[in-house]
Symmetry: C2
Subunit: 209 residues, 2 copies
Amino acid sequence: MKGIPPATVQRLPIYLRCLREFEAPTISSERLAELARVNSAKVRKDLSFLGSYGTRGVGYDVDHLTHQVSRELGLTKDWAVCIVGMGNLGNALARYGGFGERGFDVLGLFDSDAGKVGRKVGNLRIEPLGAFAKAVKSRGFSIGVITTPASAAQESADRMVKAGITSILNFAPIVLSVPEEVDVRRVDLSTELQICSFYLSRSAGKRAS
Amino acid sequence: MKGIPPATVQRLPIYLRCLREFEAPTISSERLAELARVNSAKVRKDLSFLGSYGTRGVGYDVDHLTHQVSRELGLTKDWAVCIVGMGNLGNALARYGGFGERGFDVLGLFDSDAGKVGRKVGNLRIEPLGAFAKAVKSRGFSIGVITTPASAAQESADRMVKAGITSILNFAPIVLSVPEEVDVRRVDLSTELQICSFYLSRSAGKRAS
C-alpha cells in the first residue's frame, strides 16, 4: 500500500488532463508544471510517488505517464455511477460527455418526483427512488452522485449508504453525515469562481497602482 | 504585491468553506487540515502567506481568519458574472444558490438559440448573444462563464475577450485560445469523480488483500 498524500491525489486528475491535451511524445516537468499551474519541484515529487522519474534532459514519456496516472487513479477499470436528483445539475451531469470517456459509466438516474420518473435523459430513463436499492445490487453502482436540493441530500446519502455505496460525490450545499467507512467528496461549484476572483483582484490592484 | 503561490490560492476556497462550516470560535491548524484534507504544516504555511499565524495552544480565530481568506480571495467586493450557454449546466449554475452568497452576482444569461431567448431563469431572462457586448459595458461583467457545447466555446470566448472580459471560467471540454492577459480557468466536472475512483480502488485493494 503506497501512501500517496491526499494533496498529490488532488493534483493527479489535473496532470492527467494536461497530459491528454499535450501533443508531443515527451514532456518536461517544467512544462507540465506550467500547464498544471504548480511548481516543477512539486510535479517531480508528485510523480515520484507513482514511481515516475523522467529522464534528465528529455522529461517524461507522455503515453507512459498518462497510463501510470490513469492506473493510479483507478481509471483503467470502469466505474458504475448513479445520480440522485434530476434537476438541472443532475441533467447536466447525466449528459456530460466527459464522464464516459474517463471510465465513469452513468448507469442510473433517480428522482423522488413522480413527474420526472420515466423521462428520458440520453439513453437512460429516470427511475423512482423506490427502485434504488435493487438497482445498486443489479447494476453495481460504485459511486453515488447527489444533485438534490440541500433539503433532500441527507436522505439521499442515507439511502446510498444503506444500499452499500461507499463513495459519494455531493453537489448539494450541505455537510452530510455518513459512517466513517464511506468517502464523501463535496463539490462546491463556486470554488473556481473564487480563484477567478483572486486573480481579478490582483490584476485590478496592479492596474490601480 | 504579495506572491501567494498558485497551489495556495487553489486551497484558499477550501479553507474558506471549512471555516464557514466550523462552529467554534477558534480552530487549530490540525483540525483545519483534517477538514480540508491537507497536512497541517501546509495549512500553517498557506496561512502564513496571509499574515496569519494563529496562537500556540489556541489556534486561529475563526471569524478573523474567515475575513482574511475572503479578503485575499477578493470576496469582500461583489463581482458581476455572466453565463453564455443556457443548456442544462448553464441553467444549473444560474440557479445555483451558492454564488450570490459568496459575492458572485449572476447578472446576465446569454444563448445563441432564439428559442431560449426571453425565457426566465430565476430573476433573469435569457438574452441573445447580439446583446452581449452592450451588456458587458452597462452591467460591468468581470467574469464570463462558458457553458456552451465544445463547438461554440471558442467563439464565446472570443466574444468575451472582445467585449473586455479578462477572466473566463470554461466548463466546455475544450482548450481555449485567448490573449495572454486573459485568465482562463477550466472546470472539468470529472475531476472529483477521478478522486473518488482513486480512493475506491485503494479500498477495493484493501478488501481483496
